[in-house]
Symmetry: C2
């Protein structure tokens, strides 16, 4: 934007007015095209981030944007993965979110304080790039602004703020520290920008020396960004290569389903397993290990009963079961993984998902609720999600509760005949059953493409529910024990 | 339940099995009848609350309940009203929530620590009674259990927990303190129970001396409570008398709408008012005063533009605009005020609602989305809600943005003719217009019944949008200044 700097005040005003007019007009387009827009406003303390945001939103309809000031994470937030609270803040389709500031500031503070370095820092950068790419690939515009300010200018502004009691509270400890340790912060900001600059979400460093110019440049970037994003969203997203080590899995048709347990053996084994799991639950709480258990499976495969046998061994205060139905409106309007990020357990807790994020590559794929490009991309996005969880320290266990077609029919009929169970069977179940072969194909593909070494699938043989319950609980026990060994 | 205590072990087991069977069977009824159930499990440390809950949920389908362990409030939570985080935890219709513990423990700790006493404590009790009554009146079952344990027994249990490294983390500072200061806690628990015992949500004190008996008694209470709640929900709720001082307001038809401003005067006054408001925004942030601004008004009355003139004076990091549309599924399944409690500002912040909780007595009333008893009760429930907010220290400003029928028609037509504004007008707007007279009657009644001295309505004359904007912003300024005076 070199030319603009040579403009006269009058010309600048004219261009500014024009650009702001465009931005105001774009609101309607954003709404129509359901474009979600994230504007990350990062930069030095007292560089005028707040003023910039106030300026940007002045012509926007307040019903279509949100400004979110982000502070350092609370204790509770620290018990979730780094990306979690940032994911929670993403806007709905057709809306703006302005972040002051976003995921940069937190990381730069961690860098300066030596809380995040070496391998951890590399991992952090990696996660951020992944996060931004996923957002863009799922239709988001991610506009990243860094407001630069010289040391002298920053000093003068901080002095100005401090001189008025109405504004002095705006100057924090960090701002003062930045003045004292300018070089250290400069280095960290620079390193962050370099490491997280990507084609899909590039950085824009704006010098705040001339006030009007910052607004003009950012306004321009926003207008341009929106235009490009709308165009881009018409195109197919290129699929990523799979970089993760995979576990070879059988096809569903190759899985035998004839294993059985007598009631007697079952009761004995269940008691033993539950006792073990109870002890482990204390241990994971103590060590702060989060556990995520994902249940998928055929209708009437016995997921509910299976989950119940697991939870009845657990301390009720340390787990949560999340039944996943079709998404609510505010969920459908966001990244499809959003509602799962929001339901992650705290460290030391267990989250059990009754149906999961794999809906994307099963029901959403088969019913056409998302595009082919969407579900094809999802395998890798989900692997990345689960990698993020296991890197965070979580144990991730995934179950496909498996039965054959005859067994399903038998159970459907039982449900219809039993008044206490009748609510469990709906017309939709029968409709899904008609698509058994399509689902089997989709499940086979899902298991093949998402059985990573860090989060493999476990196919549970559930023609005999008793056998399935023992099998599942033992898989959970083994996964936790393995984690314990790694840690000791 | 005196007789049960005399039962033999065998008899007890039999009754227990029978009662648990009933509870399991009730799940379907709860689901059908859409009954939300809150079980508050309070009591001494190490009294076995966790074990009790684990027991209660063992036969429940994990998809229909949630156990929520509540700790002392975080810093963020302390920046909201006391009831806020408890309101957030209420279940959806057809589901259970077990709270370990609920709003008692927090209050008792505050009592023992002398953080809440005298007038504040009285107020706290009053709020809790109001909260529970509102829940029950809106169809909730609120079952309050206090698990009692003798000092000796508590001591023995704490010792037991401490002796095992897997369980020792369960013993907190408070538990130890309770042993040392038994009398003090006894008094506080007793006082709390007495003060918050009500017909609609009575306390049940259960002695945990005999283990099996606690479970049996609570299970029985739950079964009985569910039966009664389902019956009770068929009945009309008696309306409460209005205890609040009211402000007399004119009917809409009595409000003149002929005030106008020239563009010149408007620009000048707007600038002055925005400057003032900007300064006040700093002050309220500094003093930690929350501000809640509620916008209601006719379609096309100019709410959006009015809000924009207000927000453009504000620091973007210190306010949020909440556009309120029809509730999402998870919102519709809860107390109608739930989604507003969830959107309250933190201390020092401003929340602007573009349409509000008054939907209950306007659109929901007129479209039959709630029963007559529901909307009739709502006037008082809303007054209580707003009283709670102003008692907390909030400034509450409510606007009815008013225009006449001709002006609306003119604006509707303008919108249809202007391609940039066309999205603003829908068939629903035309349908609502046909019901103008019904709405006018409902709005008159609403304004009459909810113009309390602490949160009066302001009817804004918006035939001239310029006049309306200045009028509204000045009302906000005055309300904040008045609050400042009270504080100084």
């Amino acid at each position: 934007m070199g030319e603009i700097q040579k403009l006269s005040q009058d010309e600048m005003k004219r261009i500014l007015k024009e650009t702001r007019g465009k931005l105001a007009a774009q609101q309607q387009i954003i709404k129509e095209k359901k474009l979600p827009v994230i504007v990350l406003v990062e930069g030095w303390g007292a560089s005028g981030k707040g003023t910039l945001i106030s300026y940007l939103i002045r012509d926007l309809d307040p019903r279509f944007f949100q400004v979110i000031p982000i502070k350092s994470p609370t204790k509770e937030e620290k018990r979730k993965p780094f990306l979690c609270r940032h994911m929670e803040n993403i806007p709905e389709a057709g809306k703006f979110v302005f972040l002051d500031s976003g995921w940069m500031e937190e990381t730069v503070c961690d860098m300066v304080d030596s809380k995040c370095k070496g391998k951890d820092l590399k991992k952090r950068f990696h996660d951020i790039i992944m996060f931004e790419r996923q957002l863009v690939d799922n239709g988001y515009l991610v506009l990243k602004i860094f407001v630069d300010v010289s040391k002298e200018e920053q000093k003068a502004r901080i002095k100005g703020l401090l001189s008025d009691e109405d504004t002095s509270w705006r100057v924090g400890k960090r701002d003062q520290e930045q003045l004292e340790d300018r070089k250290k912060y400069e280095k960290a900001y620079g390193q962050f920008i370099e490491a997280t600059n990507s084609e899909k979400a590039p950085w824009h460093v704006i010098d705040s020396a001339e006030k009007g110019l910052v607004e003009l440049q950012v306004c321009h970037l926003l207008v341009e960004g929106i235009e490009k994003a709308i165009q881009r969203n018409e195109e197919q997203v290129q699929l990523q290569e799979n970089p993760f080590p995979m576990v070879h899995m059988p096809k569903l048709s190759e899985v035998s389903l004839d294993k059985k347990l007598t009631r007697e053996v079952y009761e004995k084994e269940l008691q033993e397993a539950q006792k073990k799991l109870k002890k482990l639950h204390n241990k994971i709480y103590n060590k702060g290990i989060p556990v995520i258990i994902a249940y998928e499976g055929w209708d009437a495969a016995g997921k509910g009963g299976n989950i119940k046998r697991l939870t009845s061994a657990l301390d009720a205060r340390g787990f949560e079961v999340h039944p996943i139905a079709s998404p609510d409106v505010h969920e459908k309007n966001r990244h499809y993984l959003w509602r799962f990020w929001n339901r992650l357990p705290k460290t030391g807790h267990i989250a059990i998902f009754d149906r999961t994020w794999y809906g994307r590559v099963m029901v959403e794929r088969l019913e056409g609720f998302c595009s082919e490009n969407d579900w094809q991309r999802a395998y890798h996005e989900i692997n990345e999600f689960e990698k993020n969880l296991t890197d965070w320290g979580a144990v991730v266990v995934k179950f496909w509760i498996h039965i054959d077609k005859d067994t399903q029919l038998k159970r459907f009929k039982e449900r219809e005949e039993n008044p206490v169970k009748r609510w469990k069977i709906t017309d939709e179940d029968w409709r899904n059953r008609e698509k058994w072969d399509d689902y089997e194909m989709a499940v086979d593909e899902m298991i093949e493409k998402t059985s990573t070494e860090f989060a493999p699938w476990h196919i549970i043989q559930s023609n005999d529910k008793l056998f399935a319950r023992i099998q599942a609980i033992n898989v959970v026990i083994e996964a936790i024990e393995q984690k314990m060994e790694q840690l000791s």
